[in-house]
Symmetry: D2
Amino acid sequence: MIVVLKQNSDQERVDRLLQHFKDMGLTIHYSKGENTTIFGLIGDTTRLDERDVLAYDIVERVQRVTEPFKSVNRKFHPQDTIISVAGRKIGAGYFNVMAGPCSVESEEQIVMVAEAVKKAGASFLRGGAFKPRTSPYSFQGLEAEGLKLLLEAKRQTGLPIVTEIMSEKHLDLFADVDIIQLGARNMQNFMLLKELGRSNKPILLKRGLSATMEEFLMAAEYIFAGGNTNVILCERGIRTFETMIRNNLDISAVPLIKMLSHLPVIVDPSHAAGRRDMVQPLSRAAIAAGADGLLIEVHNDPRCALCDGAQSLDIPCFDAVMADIERRATFEGREMMPQ
Amino acid sequence: MIVVLKQNSDQERVDRLLQHFKDMGLTIHYSKGENTTIFGLIGDTTRLDERDVLAYDIVERVQRVTEPFKSVNRKFHPQDTIISVAGRKIGAGYFNVMAGPCSVESEEQIVMVAEAVKKAGASFLRGGAFKPRTSPYSFQGLEAEGLKLLLEAKRQTGLPIVTEIMSEKHLDLFADVDIIQLGARNMQNFMLLKELGRSNKPILLKRGLSATMEEFLMAAEYIFAGGNTNVILCERGIRTFETMIRNNLDISAVPLIKMLSHLPVIVDPSHAAGRRDMVQPLSRAAIAAGADGLLIEVHNDPRCALCDGAQSLDIPCFDAVMADIERRATFEGREMMPQ
Amino acid sequence: MIVVLKQNSDQERVDRLLQHFKDMGLTIHYSKGENTTIFGLIGDTTRLDERDVLAYDIVERVQRVTEPFKSVNRKFHPQDTIISVAGRKIGAGYFNVMAGPCSVESEEQIVMVAEAVKKAGASFLRGGAFKPRTSPYSFQGLEAEGLKLLLEAKRQTGLPIVTEIMSEKHLDLFADVDIIQLGARNMQNFMLLKELGRSNKPILLKRGLSATMEEFLMAAEYIFAGGNTNVILCERGIRTFETMIRNNLDISAVPLIKMLSHLPVIVDPSHAAGRRDMVQPLSRAAIAAGADGLLIEVHNDPRCALCDGAQSLDIPCFDAVMADIERRATFEGREMMPQ
Amino acid sequence: MIVVLKQNSDQERVDRLLQHFKDMGLTIHYSKGENTTIFGLIGDTTRLDERDVLAYDIVERVQRVTEPFKSVNRKFHPQDTIISVAGRKIGAGYFNVMAGPCSVESEEQIVMVAEAVKKAGASFLRGGAFKPRTSPYSFQGLEAEGLKLLLEAKRQTGLPIVTEIMSEKHLDLFADVDIIQLGARNMQNFMLLKELGRSNKPILLKRGLSATMEEFLMAAEYIFAGGNTNVILCERGIRTFETMIRNNLDISAVPLIKMLSHLPVIVDPSHAAGRRDMVQPLSRAAIAAGADGLLIEVHNDPRCALCDGAQSLDIPCFDAVMADIERRATFEGREMMPQ
């Protein structure tokens, strides 16, 4: 961390600040010029918040030289992390498609979609039991009952399941879920992150609507800090000024995460635009940019979906998209899961 | 709600959609032109999600004519809401300053600051016991112990307290807190919103970093939907491209909320820029724009604050800012609380 | 266009507004409900500005049903436009790579780079003579002299050239330039758009940093309105909150433009991130998403570039990127130019 | 400027870079730690572009310590600049209201509005002759004829005029204009900035829709670099995610500019929201935050304005707003112009 002091700072206060950093176990490179005095802080600066340093009156600017995240940082863990769930490998070139409806609606519906996406080649069934909705008057999901139906679909088809948690209080309900999803709006629900950090479940962490890469990786760091290293990152579109699409896929996030972190990254092309007609082109871009998988909304009848239907594919359409995905994953040298 | 159909839509499917709306108790104005067919849906459309309607293949566009929020909507409740807490009135021209440190650090510190802000004219003591921090390695607040210290400061000074909740699990701990703050990152933590809706505590709801007015008011609607009508809205700055400030006060939010809703709105000039030197000009703008109060960070020694020191005022500085605030509130015809 | 009137509007004023629309040659569908009165305007509404309609006191909301752009709209011109320049075809599956340095620096430099990129397979030489720089103290390009050097490089290598115009006054200087680039900061320089509309030169129109799709296509419409239909659209990254990259490639823009317009769209992966290490993954994503070409910065010695060096590839690196591009274009069934 | 080198950089290349900076006349503080090597560059670094330095392979990070703007920087010119135009003083506590229609439409209209705004207390007449419109099919202003009508209104009322330039080619037409406005979309039209820098006219420079403070002040620096020091900055709202308003007034810009620069800053509350009902609250916030003036759209009949009517005040409404403005300017200790 580099700390630039204000001109003509009182030497006694400079010395006090120097001592403060030394007390934290940091080594200091002290460079005093005619107009500018600079400290270079060497050591573990992750515990140091830029804003706490800025709070000192004599400090003009602060800049990190090393990222504030450690455990998820590729610098300290150069190998790609592979997460193994229900016989599937996620990361490091293995390619997974997680597919299913926005909401679980009935046993018939979820089993039917599970069979269809399994047949088309998906390796996980996704489906929402607890649904984050902007309006309290919208359908909120079948909740605990929805989880039971997902597990029933898993029992009947063998597909492992991915589903979203919305409250620390519900963790017990998720005991048999294969991957717990943390939604974009809860990316900085720090209490829930800590709770998930104490579990040993694979976590699919979705990026917040306006979160930076650093904030996203720091959210993953929260889960690691609790002891859980099974984190899958998911880029699902950011908010931009464009009104023709709901969100805007940040394709740069895929190679950036790959450079910064060893964690797997998957892309959700359904939420990333909120339009059926964008799912295929965005899936193609994601595969080409290096994503480790896709999360795709599929519904038996998009016209009747209880939520988010505008972005769901119907089954014949998903079959076609999957065929295209497989051809492209093969071109990229990725191995489709399950084998 | 206006629904524009795609050209040449199959009449049978149009009829089915018409029937679907009728079954929801809506009245339909059906306008069929040469190229465009339009439905105008009349009735309570708050249960209808635009995206669910868009999911129908035959639908081209959907636009709401009435806002999706009801209980917090000024149209249905033209009078300003006044929230009474501990003898203070909030809203409708009464002006409250809530002041105190970012974090509670010790009994000595919090009591000292409480006395100072009370003397300067603040009507509430604010202070963080549970702290949302971007990094798991940063100080997370004194938690339950911090709440005790806040209550001790209340006991000693008589100042009611405002403090942030971060988990549904902690609600019992907040039994003696006067106003429960819900932070920006949790604005769409729907489970926590529902829980707060079931309590009868006044809630200070902070706007999310990138939330629209509609999303902000829908979050308030969640609390109302649970039965709790004691909601105070807080504008605390949005994320913009500017790097010289941490967030950017959305001053337009103040008059917009006043037009759209009957709820009180206060402004947090400390978080809104993250810089001490912006607190006074932003406070002035907020008062002039019609805010019902201010939430200001004050610390006994900003250089030593355990978090967010860069934006805290020290006590002599807060004294000066308060004198300016009182002069301006009087100019605007607002009544300073407590009397 | 749909116009929703305010409740209880004065009938005389409603009639006057109706007449106003009729006078413009529009057909009106008039739907009067108990609480809401709606006009549907049918006909050519491109001359109608939403804001002009909103200016009427009795109007509550306005929504376009058809896009405000006509000539560039795929609805009225379903076939992909192919632009032929110097024996190259641009659009409709033909794939062009335009490569070269940020700035022309000397004859030796530009000829050397031109030969190198030609050998690697580029179909156009790009290079800046007039440079838009944030600071008046930064190098502003060799200007007219730079144009001469570009033309000399064209003479020696046969590569057609693409270069940026910054002023209406310079149009004569661009007489022998093959494609005139209009930069992102000038996307809404309407006088320059009109001037380019009166020329018959192919125009490479770059999207503004925060422009919406509609604004981007309306800028192209300005060029068409003047009579010039040789427009190539270029997505070059938008401004987002991410600080690790300079801009953020909006990959969704590629399929969106393809749906909305018949014009070719190319992607600039160099400016889109401002980082050398992002050029390859973003190029891959662009090809997969359907782009008609790429605009890539290449320099003989990136360490010495007079501007924007951080994003330039050196020649060995560009050779490798081009080989990858060709393999991918072939996979997608595109035909690389020149044949 | 601080330059952080990559770990284990080749010493010969480090030496070459050191020499390069020395050749530019910079003094270097060289700090070599175990893992990090830092250069502190002392001297005039305004000619140095961060990105040019980043282009060196051995450079990891670059951070400016001093702002890249010089002439407009308050550090080098601590006194507020006062610009004198037609007997009015602008800046340093003098308060000006510039008012008039979006577009000049006829002699009758512009003279009528000029008389009305003069009577209400405005010190300048604003009005558009050349109009930047998103659509080529919208009314583009009366152009040269409109300028004549503005000058006629000036002749009849004595009010000096402010009007927008859109092309370098038109500069001669603006010879008798008192203040030339450069619009938001042209804030980085560098050729026009240079041309205006060579004139001696007062320039009202509007901030771009998504421009940062640094970019805004660098645009002003362009005008100064040409020799023209008569620059008035105008905050007119930035683009945010909010859809209920057209733009969003960045109130923080007012105190930030005042800290960073000695130039006057005025606020345009009409464009800043695009809604009549926001003009008064935003004007109040602007005065309280320290603005040196306001730019307000006024029309004789908002329902018939040829452009931007939704945000224009009619004359009785402007009279009321002006009375409120005067009362507030007096409260703030500002002197209303003209005396």
